[in-house]
Every structure is written in C-alpha cells, then in structure tokens.
Symmetry: C2
Amino acid sequence: MEPKAKPTWIWYPGDFEVWLGNRFNSRRTERGAMFPPFWKHDSHWPMVTFAKTVDIDSDETLTVEAEGRFNFSVDGRLQSALVVPKGRHELSFKVWNQSAPPALFVSGATIVTDASWQVTFEDKVWIDECGVAHGAGTYVPAGSWTFDSADTPPSHYRLACREERPAQVERLLNGGLLVDFGRETFGYLCLKVNCSAGTQCALAIYYGESREEALDAAHCETLDRVVADQLLASPVVRLDSKAFRYVSIEMEGGVGVDDVWMDYEYSPFDPARSGSFGCSDEELNHIWQVAAYTLDLTTREFFVDGIKRDRWTWSGDAIQSYLMNYYLRFDNECVKRTIRQLRGKDPVTSHVNTIMDYSFYWVQSVMDYYLYTGDKHFLREIYAKMVTLMDYVLSRTDASGMASAQPDDWIFVDWTDFPMHKRGALCFEQILLYKSLQTMAQCTALIDMPVGYGKARDSRELLDTYSDLAGRLAKRINGTFWSQEAGAYFHGLADGMIDRQVTKFPNMFAILYGLASKEQAERIMSSVMLNPDVPAITTPYMRFYELETLCMMGLQEEVLQQMKDYWGGMLRLGATTFWEKYNPLEQGREHLAMYGRPYGKSLCHAWGASPIYLLGRYFLGVQPTMPGYSDFTVRPTLGGLQWMRGAVPTPYGFIRVSMDNHEVRVSSDGGYGTLIVGGKRYAVKAGEEVRVEL
Amino acid sequence: MEPKAKPTWIWYPGDFEVWLGNRFNSRRTERGAMFPPFWKHDSHWPMVTFAKTVDIDSDETLTVEAEGRFNFSVDGRLQSALVVPKGRHELSFKVWNQSAPPALFVSGATIVTDASWQVTFEDKVWIDECGVAHGAGTYVPAGSWTFDSADTPPSHYRLACREERPAQVERLLNGGLLVDFGRETFGYLCLKVNCSAGTQCALAIYYGESREEALDAAHCETLDRVVADQLLASPVVRLDSKAFRYVSIEMEGGVGVDDVWMDYEYSPFDPARSGSFGCSDEELNHIWQVAAYTLDLTTREFFVDGIKRDRWTWSGDAIQSYLMNYYLRFDNECVKRTIRQLRGKDPVTSHVNTIMDYSFYWVQSVMDYYLYTGDKHFLREIYAKMVTLMDYVLSRTDASGMASAQPDDWIFVDWTDFPMHKRGALCFEQILLYKSLQTMAQCTALIDMPVGYGKARDSRELLDTYSDLAGRLAKRINGTFWSQEAGAYFHGLADGMIDRQVTKFPNMFAILYGLASKEQAERIMSSVMLNPDVPAITTPYMRFYELETLCMMGLQEEVLQQMKDYWGGMLRLGATTFWEKYNPLEQGREHLAMYGRPYGKSLCHAWGASPIYLLGRYFLGVQPTMPGYSDFTVRPTLGGLQWMRGAVPTPYGFIRVSMDNHEVRVSSDGGYGTLIVGGKRYAVKAGEEVRVEL
C-alpha cells in the first residue's frame, strides 16, 4: 500500500491574502483610533467550488473539515455521505463563508486536498430540459501553503511569538514606569497588574520608538488605555501589538504593575537558509546587521513599510523589500502574499495604493519575483491581474500615450525637500510606464493563456499591443524630455510646456530601466547624478535607486562612502533600526518629526534596509540573469574594502562569494553561473568552487 | 427648537442586497444538503466611509451605533470623542465589517444618519510633504430603508412571521404523522416533542407540496432529520424554513410529538394599498385570488421563482414578478432589492444567472421599474451597472453585432416539449438584445452623468453607441430572420445557415418589443400565433408573453378562454397555488414530475401568477405611459365578461376602473390619464370620476 498522501488546506488563490490584508491594514491605530487605508478593500469570494477528478481502486470514506458550510457532490450529484465509490469520479465541494475565505481540508486513504485541486468562484452549471447538468466554469489551481493540519485552517494564521524582557525599567517622577526594551521591537505588551481599588483604576500607556515619544503623552503616535473592567478581569493584561522601544506607563486609581514584558511577534526564518555578508569594515558590518533587523521587523504577514505608524502595505516600499529579501531571507511566500494583497480584486478602480508610480512598481515586482525565483506557477496565477491593472492604466493615458496626472491620481515620486510640481505628464512616470509595458510584453510572451472576462483576449494580440506601445513610448520620451544640451531628461510636460527642471528621478530610472543609451547614461552621470547643483535625494526610498544607479555605473567606492555617511550617521545617533528619512543637518528631536507631527517619522522603515540589496547585488555582485538563477552572473567588487565574504540564497541553495585584493572564490549549489572579474569570464558550476587570483 | 431629526441605518447602496442575497440563495437545500447557485457570489465592500457636511449652531454630542468597527473624523482629523463643534464641518465615519455590510446609525440633536449622507468604498485620500491630506474619493448617496431604530440594524433584517395551525393531522399506519396545512405555505415547522428514551431518539421529517411527495421518503425534495441532541435540548423544535402543504413525520427511538404547527413567514403588505380585481366570472375571480397568493408566497426578501426547490433569484422569473407586483402590492422595495441582488458587483464575468436572455431581461426590468414608479434616484444608482453589464454583452457579440452563443452561455428561451436547438445566433436573443440597446439609449438620455472606472465615459458617446447599435441590429434582424413568404421570423443562424424553424418565441417578442411593423405583426398573428401547426408553448413563463401578445393585438376574448382552460385546469386538479408548468394531457403523479425527478416540479411558481398582470394591464387596461404614472392610459376591455371592477396601485394612490356592457367608470388619485374606449379618448383627472356610457 502506498503511503497516505498528505492533505493541506486549500482556498481560492489570492483570497487568503485579500482577507488577511483587510485585517492587517485595519490594525493600524492612531492614538487609539482605528486607522485603515483610504483605498478599496476587497473581499474573498464567499462561495467557491473545489473540484478534483479521482480514480480509486476501492471505496473511500473522507474526513472533511471546512471553513464555512459545505456540500459534497460526486459526478455532479449531491451526496449525503462522505463516501467516494471506487472508479473514476469527479468530486466537488462547494464551500460558503462570508466572513473568512472558504477553505477545505479533506483527508482520505488516497484522496486529500492539495495544490492539484481546482477551484472556481462560479461553476456556471446549467440544466437542460431533461434535468442534465452542463458545466462551463472557470477553474484555476487552488491556493495552498503550509496549513497541513486539520486544526490549522488559514483563518487561524498568526505570526510566531516569543517572550522578551525589558532591558531596563525606570521609575518616573510622576510614579509611572518607563520601560526600555533595549532596541526597536514589535509585539504585544504584557503587564502583571494588581488592582486593589475598584472601578476607578486605569492604566495609560504611551509607546515610543524614542524615549522622547514615550514620555510625550500628548503627542506620541500610539497609546493604550486599560480600564477597570480589563484590569479586574485578569491579573495579566496583553495589549494589541505595537512598535516601540520605550513604553511609558501611568497608573491611576490604585493599580499596581508587578511585571512588564512583551510577546515579540515575528515572521520566522531559517538562519541556515539566509544570506550573509561580512567585510573588513566594522561599521559596514554593523550597517548590514541593523539593516537585516530592520527588514526582519518589517517582514510580517506582508512586507510593510513602517511598523509603528503605517502598518499598511505600499507597493513602492514593497518592491524594495522584495529585492532586499532576495539577498537576506529569500522569504518568497511573503513576496507572493504581498503582491496578491496589493493588487486585490478586479475591477481596478484606482492605482495600487492610489499612486500612479505604485501601479508601475507592482507590475515590475512580478517580473523581479519571477527572475529571482523562477516560479512560473505564480506568474500564471497573477498574469490576468497584470492585464486588468494595465487596462486601467492604458484607459487613462492621453492622446500621446502618456500617463498624465488625473484628479484621482496620487503622483508620488518621492518626498522632496525642494519644490517639484507633479502636474501633467512627468518624465519619471513615463519611464516607469515604459518599463511596465516592456514587462507586460515579456510576461505575455512567457505565458500562453487566454485571459479576461467577456471575450477571452488573444495573447498574441496583447503581446503586439504592449510591445508596440513600449516602443512608441520610448521614442516619445526621448523626443519629448531628453535634452542633448543639458545631458538630462527634463522633469515634465504640463499645459503644453516642457518643465526644464532637472531632478535625479527620471534620469536615474532611465539608466536603471535601460531607456538611456550608453552615451546618454554617461552624460546623465556627469550632468545629473554626480552634479552637486542637482538637488540631493534625502529619502532612503529614492537613495535605493540612486545608489543602485551608481553601482551599475561602477561607482562602488563612492557608494561605500555614502553608505558609511548616511546609514553610519543614523547609527552614530543610536539607531537600532533604520529610519524613514535621515537628514544629517537636523538636530535632536528634529530627527523624530515628519508630516508636521513631532514623532511622525518612522524609525523602523523597510526602505532603510537597502544596504542588504546593494551589498549583495553590487558588492558580492550576485545577479540572476535567467529565471530562478538557472543562469546567473557574479561580478564581485570590493569598492575599497580589504576583503568581503557572503552568501546569497537561491532556489538551489546559495551562491557563496569571498574576495580580497588577491583572490576571488565563488561556489554555487545550482544553476549555471559566470564569474566576471578583471575583465574575464569564468564558468561557475554547481558544487565546484572557482578560484581566481587577481 | 426644531423637532429632532429621525435617524436611520445607512450603508453602501446595493451592499445590503448582495449580502442578503448570499444568505438567501444558500438557504436552498436538496434532501438536507446546502444547494446554492452555480454563479458568482459577490461581497459587500468591507470598508466604507460615510460622510456628511454639517453646519450647526452649538456643539453636538453624537450617539453612534455601527455594524463593524469604526472611527470618526471631523474635517479630516481623527477624533477620540464623539463631539462635533459648532460651525460648518465635514464629518466622516469609516466602518469596517468583513461578515456583514458596514452600517451606521448616528443620532444627535440635529445630526442624524439618513439618505442625505454620502458613502464611498475608497476615499482616496493622499498626503503631501507637509502632511496635508487631499481627497478625491468617489462618493455616492448612502443606501437606507426603514431600519429606523438603533436596535434594528440591517443585518438583523427578517421577514414577518405568524403562527399557523394545521388543517388536519393524520396518524399513519407506520405510527408516524401526516400533517396537512390545508394549502401551499412557507415557513418554519414547529414541533413540541417529548423524548423519554435517550440518545437514539430522532425525527425524520419529509416535506411535500403534494401528499404524494410528503409520503415518499425516498424521493421528496426537502427533508429534515432531528437528532437526539436537538430533541433533548428543548421541548420545542423549530426547523429551517421550507415550502410545503404536507409534512410527514416519522418518530424513532421513543420520541413523541405532542403538537405540530408552523411559523408562516411572509413579506408584509398593506391590503389598503393593494390592487384588486373582481368580475362576473367566479372561476376567473378564483384564478385571480390564487394567483395573488402565489405571488405573495414568492415575494420574499427577493422575488423568487419557486419557494420549494429553487429559492434562488432568477432574472427571467423576476421581471414577470415585478410586472405582476405593479398590479398587486406595488412593493417597489422588493423590486429594487431583487434588481440589485441579481446584478451584484462588477466585474461582470457571466450573464445574469449565467443566462444570456436573463441579462437582457435585467436591463429591461430597470426601465419597467422606472416607468411604473418614476424613481429616478434608483435609475441614477443602477445606471453604471447597466453600462458594465452591457459592456460584457457587447464584448461577446460577433462580427455582425449579434449575440451568438458562446461556450459559457446558457441560452435558455424556454423549456420546450419540441426539439429546438440553441446554437449560433438565435433570432429570439437578437430581439432581446435590440430591446436592451434601445433601453440603454433611453436611460442614457435620461441620466446625464459620467460613468465607469478608468477614464470616465462620456454619456453623449454612450448614447450614440447604443442608438446606433440598436438601429443597425434592427435592420439586421429583419434582413436576416424575417421571411415575407412565411410571414414569420425564423429561428436562428448557425454555421452560416438560417434555421427555418418557426416558433412563437421570436415572433411574439418582435411584436411586444416593437420590432415588427404593423403589417409584420398582423402576418405573425395569422401565420404563427394563431397557427395550430406552430408548436404550443407549455410553460406559464412564456405563456405570459404569448397571452400579452394576444392582448396587445386585441384578442382578450381568446385570452380569457385560455386563462380559464389553463389556470382553471390547475384549480380543477386542486391547486392552491399555480405551478411551474402544467400540461392538461398529463395524468396523476405526472403533474408532479419535472427535470427527471418525481417531485421536481414547483407547485408554487411566480411565473404562474401572470393573470394578475394580464387582467390589470389588458382587461382593466391600466398602463403608465410616462414615468411613475405621471401620464397613463386606461383601455378597459371586458373580453367576454359581463362586468369587472378593480383598482391598480400607482405612486399617487390608485386608478380605479369599473365596466359592464353599459358603462365605464374611471377615477384616479393623481397623474394625467386618458381613458380610451369605443374609439374615443377621455381625459382622466385626479379626483374626478369619468363615466362613459357605451
């Protein structure tokens, strides 16, 4: 007898993320009030049908768990017993659940739910005069993950927790406590209380990423108030999750706090499957470690921008998290979850996060994911959603094919410290649109499947459309915005006039996305990227791309120095995680303020962790060149370091690189690699270390 | 001081119906198993924002009830207290609820939730560098109804119930009971039980619309099994709602039944606001009464086809229920609920109920509703959904602009007893499409509003498109399917060949929908409608349109006889409600069978109640000619009766008609009417009875 197959919970693909995303995004609070996003929240399909054709040698009795009410059919006939007769049969389970995604867990001797099942949200059965049912439903492969036990259904999903103790507890002059957990953290504050008095007792709790914030009851971003009902109900109070390093606790009406600790909540990872980096510069090693901790804290149910304030998913932040993640934890499930959640359901009624740039990053993130993982299954799942997002984008382009700002659109680009208008057609947005069109053409070529509601759309036609639009837009961008005289792309086109402002944004993306020719790229480097008269970028968000551009152009030494100045600067101010924004010219509490609020700045922000990516991709120099690292290059560059060594995770295991001024050593666990060093190319085969003397 | 304004629960329009529809449609069971529809179930928006601008003279403290978690903002700032300062302010409540539609009930001294509030599912707020919020959300008027008390939120909505006693209880030979409620009914069976034994006791309950069905444990369509847990928990057992006249109860393991009754569940109506009809023919009066009871039983949370088996909403059935309802209860809230529920949410991924004809009926039903009620508010609410449904329809037409069958489409037309293929482009479907296009053009002309996601669509452009397509399609239908020789529209066009079959379906709709010229209509009458060689229609569903056509062509005498034969035939067989289908040639239990199942036929089917409509519209002769009866005609026709009198409900009150062979009397409570009788026209003014001697 064959070993019993392993069952797992299954659902409609993407619905788990849509549902989880609503809960996730609604957990954000602002001084006690729920503070969910301003954009559309979708829902899972409340009624789905799971189907599978089986062929079994003997009758089989099934054990069935469902999240929701369900029925069971064999060969289109409803059954009252959970028995499948021997032979070839079509099984189907219809599951209904309004409040969480309908999910199914079937275990039998040979019949079990797993990724081989199909699922539909409309089986479109129809009945002829003789009562014979005909079906024409649109089935897709069921979603599943690692919910492999009947008692771990998807709706019970939680991150892991472990208890952590404070580093220090300080008694304040007002009788309250100031608890310091030693570094930025995230989780559930726990208190052991004794409540001698009665109904007047209460606790006021103020959280701070900084000591200043926790002590500023009037302005801290998050707080809790625990009233008598809760204090009297149990000696241990566990509060909702928050981000903090410091917590200030004020006690009222005769309540005492005997102990304070936290349940640290985190997304588990395997250190033995994680990327690593070490080098001769201790400050850079410290930067890498703090960046890794920053990325770990922002790797949650989804990749999130900041853990204190936003706690929402943002496409522009997420694409950077994904790229860093490919060099750190290679947590590709979290990438897929976030991509699905950000995109939600059709119809598309606004840009992703309502931001035009963020729609384009979303499209690009799918291609990045495919390149790093080779997961074509996911590409096939998400492709139809790429097309409908692009439909929305293309329905709003102007007569010249450019994406110009419409009243509904948030044109973000970046937070800038200098004036920059966002009206009309920005060159920056057109370059992102160009890249999206190119990505759509590539994905369409990879996927040969009909798509869309109504008349199914021909993929050849789509391929032609995207390719054609990309080609024409590239010409139009160069014709409209490029100035041979300035050696730069100008800022925008509004009211029929070119705005000749020069910023780094469109210029660096023209290099990154391959729109600029080699000659244009060189002009841009001197006239824009290295020109001190062009306003500086001040957010780590856009510094990500700025430094990547410098690395692409071979300026690792410059980048190393900038990393030490900028990220090192935060460390010198005591940062335990990297910030949303850092301006070396600011002083004291100025570092904590943003958006007009004294503690508005996030001190643990995913986009602050970019050294992980830069060091992995442009110092160790590891890049996939074909999907899933089936082909890759290694171009190690010391950039002024004495030595470095590190490992980059891949679907095969790792690519390991070590280098000093005398030699380079590279090995890999799979895929065909090319080490490029000193102008020469060396093949890297799995399991064989390549050693090159310099 | 002004009287305190009256608050009511508000929600996102349409979401209550989407949510209620999922519950409603999932209540259908087949021999104990849940049996929901095969088509897409949508969900409410789980997160919505309610907004209102107020201007108040003094500070106001609000009392707020919400279905879901909520937050409260004044002028874009989150508040911790529910207080509105005096002056002009923008209030907004964000409410989140995954399992039922987010709903809000606010009561203050002057600030209350009502239909004047706006609501959005995406407020699209965005924030600039200075932390200033900008908003561009798409707000629509909030949905509301009669949930006017804080403790009657929308999710608690239930139909009314009252206790009814059996007409007769019979002891069966097997020791069980056969309960007869005297006529077809619907509700919750209640049992008073005593359970002397232990865990083996159980009740098996078999429901029947007929005695035969209730006594056939192996084949009855619905049943319940009550096990010991439930029997021991309480002496009174109340079962889920079912349709039945008879109930057979088998007792096992020492359980006794001391009493049986039911909670009759119904949609309340006001007899004083209902239509009426009486005449010299007692059989016809009986038919009208039974038809009225049939329609009342099928008027529920939604208009439903049959109460026993289907318990789903079907567009083709519903449009007929609406029309009957306009002459009986004028329950326009149930019409709106059903229209909203049938259409659901975007994107459209299949025809309404997956049936092509049903999409067209849905479009038509909106225009009918507007004509009978004059409710432009609803037309404005639903118009965008009309456009997106039509987008779907038009995305699937062939090169000649015809709606031909695609693999996903259920082409229904009717259940026929003669062979009729449904491949290619059916003339019937093209006529319905033509009417839909015409309706879309009319509605677009009535509504001047932008519509659609992506680029807002120009209503002038839409109007041109629909008008143009309708005109071209009319020509094409006549050119392709009309045979001057046969005096008929042929059946279809498949594989490039005309199918010369002649059925009544396209021919009667060509008359009903005004596609046929006067001359064509007269040819159709003789060569098709009154031609005994053309196969007979056997369902009351299509007899609705057949008899309407005969009435339109002035053949009321013929229709009266057919009503007495067909509906009278069912009454002579003991019907207490009208059936899904009736064939006078069948015998005994044959009348109960359908779809290959011995009790598959519904004995209480909405489409069986059409005499209500025919008698009101074509005998009393009352028709609105402008929206909401602002203009109407009365063309009374005795059709062989000695006398008749009746009242038709309108938004103003009633139009009352009485007629015998000597005189006609007509009065109305509002609108401008024209009495047309004996070839002459007489003005009918509100409050003045018009009396015409014949």
